[in-house]
């Protein structure tokens, strides 16, 4: 097994990083949260970030943190879906299909919230005035974020991207057929 630095992987899959940060920013805009700085892509760790005001609404805070998970997953799946069929099922793919698969996997693999996102949720829900239901939902999410972060060492994020781009179409086709 050869080692690929995370930074290099982020550069190779840069569309996913940009979509992830843009999703954070758009969720902030949706919930009327001022944004002070956005870095869509950079070399280094983190590959991008959004600096915004502390959010008083706990639900909004959580959605701003985990929103990119849904946005990246949905966009990645939709882009890769029609291309994964000729590539993996019909055996007659064109270069455009491979390009779509690359885009889909790149975007979906950056769906996982970062440790920074996890810390932001932690800061929000640890406060005493946080409703119980937010805590019930929030703590497992933080746990999953840290597990995902640990898993990214074993390419869990890449595996997730491939699962979304390849596995979802297979599941859908198998279920409908």
């Amino acid at each position: 097994m050869f080692f690929i630095p995370g930074v290099l992987m982020s550069i190779l899959t840069f569309p996913g990083v940009i979509v992830h940060e843009l999703a954070h920013q758009l969720f902030c805009r949706w919930f009327n949260v001022p944004v002070f700085k956005v870095v869509y892509l950079k070399t280094g760790n983190p590959a991008g970030y959004v600096l915004h005001e502390t959010v008083s609404n706990k639900w909004h805070a959580m959605l701003i943190s985990v929103g990119p998970f849904f946005v990246n997953t949905i966009i990645g799946a939709f882009i890769a879906f029609p291309a994964s069929i000729p590539v993996f099922q019909f055996d007659n793919a064109t270069p455009v299909d491979y390009l779509l698969i690359y885009l889909g996997v790149s975007i979906a693999m950056h769906a996982f919230p970062s440790v920074g996102d996890g810390k932001a949720i932690w800061q929000t829900i640890k406060e005493s005035d946080t409703p119980l239901i937010v805590k019930i939902i929030g703590y497992p999410i933080i746990g999953l974020i840290y597990l995902g972060s640990l898993g990214s060492f074993f390419w869990l994020d890449l595996a997730y991207g491939i699962a979304v781009a390849v596995g979802v179409p297979k599941l859908v086709v198998g279920f409908v057929a």
Binding site: G6, T13, V17, I18, V19, H20, L22, Q25, C28, R29, N32, P34, V35, F36, V38, Y40, N45, P46, A47, G48, Y49, V50, L51, H52, E53, T54, V55, S56, S65, P68, I75, F78, I79, F81, P82, I85, P86, Q89, F90, D91, N92, L100, L103, I107, H110, P113, S114, V115, G116, D117, A120, Q123, S149, D157, P169, V172, V173, G174, V176, A177
Partner: protein, 347 residues
């Protein structure tokens, strides 16, 4: 790959001016001291042009994907259904699904490969040749599929006259090949299954030669137990030799290979009718008609089944519907001969 989301800490100092523009008219109730204008500006924090263009590119790609999705998805569903049908030996269903898939992906290797296999089992050699031609020079990654396809193409050759056959019988171009010529050829080429079955077939119109045909067909089946024309003919010959159990056995042999072989189902229906199992015969004849409503042999069987079940209205409706097509003539004449008792069908 850490995409950090960093939150700004609350201002703790007794700042009374907007942290962005210095205006004293700050909006209360927020962690950061910002005036209304600056708050709105920061809520709508500008997205750089290149990011907007990137977003537009992603949106465009998504639109393309949306446009491609229905066609590819329906083709994939049809292929998946065809693969399931193929595994269950339901080759008519498989071929119908593959035709649907082919409409959306006419050059897909996987679809063409499965289509070749399904068409072979359905005896549709026109499709076998068309689909396998399109596969020439293409690389098939699935080894199991490749092997099966190879097997089918090799077997297809047995369904057509060999070069040796063509050369040997060149002089009979438009003439009936005599028995003796066939026999001499078979002596020299004892494994030429096509010729053995061709000779048996030439005997199938003559009641006195049914036994000879039967012997030849047994020889053919000994060479290749899955040679469909031999099994088909055997079902008929055994029926005509008053060996219904044996006829049904060979129908079932074909049905083991292809659960939807309309010829085998139809032949089995005729054998049931011959032994007086009229209801069973009609049931099977209807099943065949549902699978293939255009095959003259099936239509003739259904007409016969209605006849022996005394449903003359339905029988005549079928005979009326098919009389316009000249290709149906031999089948319809046979049914009419049975109806008029010219041929004694039932024991």
């Amino acid at each position: 790959m850490d995409n950090n989301l960093i939150t700004e800490t609350e201002n703790t100092s007794e700042q009374i001016a907007c942290i962005k523009c210095g205006s004293p008219q700050i909006l209360a109730g927020y962690p950061n001291k910002l005036c209304a204008d600056c708050r709105q500006q920061l809520i709508k924090f500008p997205i750089p042009l290149w990011v907007k263009l990137f977003g537009a590119g992603i949106a465009l790609v998504m639109i393309i994907s949306f446009i491609w999705l229905p066609g590819n998805l329906s083709a994939a569903i049809a292929l998946s259904r065809a693969e399931k049908a193929e595994k269950s030996h339901d080759y008519i269903t498989a071929q119908n699904e593959l035709k649907k898939a082919q409409n959306n992906a006419p050059h897909a290797i996987e679809i063409l490969s499965h289509l070749t296999i399904a068409a072979f089992h359905n005896g549709d050699f026109k499709t076998v040749l068309e689909a396998s031609d399109k596969l020439q020079g293409k690389e098939i990654e699935d080894t199991a599929l490749y092997n099966e396809l190879n097997n089918v193409i090799t077997q297809t050759n047995e369904y057509f006259p060999s070069d040796t056959f063509k050369t040997s019988f060149k002089k009979y171009k438009n003439l009936v090949i005599p028995d003796s010529a066939y026999r001499t050829y078979i002596k020299k080429n004892p494994m030429d299954i096509y010729t053995i079955v061709a000779l048996a077939s030439s005997y199938s119109d003559n009641n006195d030669k049914y036994q000879n045909a039967d012997t030849l067909l047994s020889k053919a089946i000994a060479i290749d137990r899955s040679y469909i024309p031999a099994l088909y003919l055997k079902t008929m010959i055994k029926r005509e030799l008053n060996q219904p159990d044996s006829s049904i056995y060979y129908c079932d042999q074909v049905l083991l290979i292809n659960h939807q072989s309309t010829y085998a189902l139809s032949s089995k229906a005729r054998t049931f009718l011959k032994v007086g199992k009229n209801k069973e015969g009609l049931l099977l004849a209807k099943q065949c008609y549902q699978l293939d409503a255009d095959m003259p042999y099936n239509l003739a069987t259904l007409a016969l089944a209605y006849h022996f079940n005394k449903d003359f209205k339905q029988r005549d409706a079928i005979l009326d519907s098919v009389k316009k097509d000249s290709t149906n003539a031999p089948y319809i004449t046979y049914v009419k001969d049975i109806i008029s008792n010219k041929i004694k069908f039932q024991n």
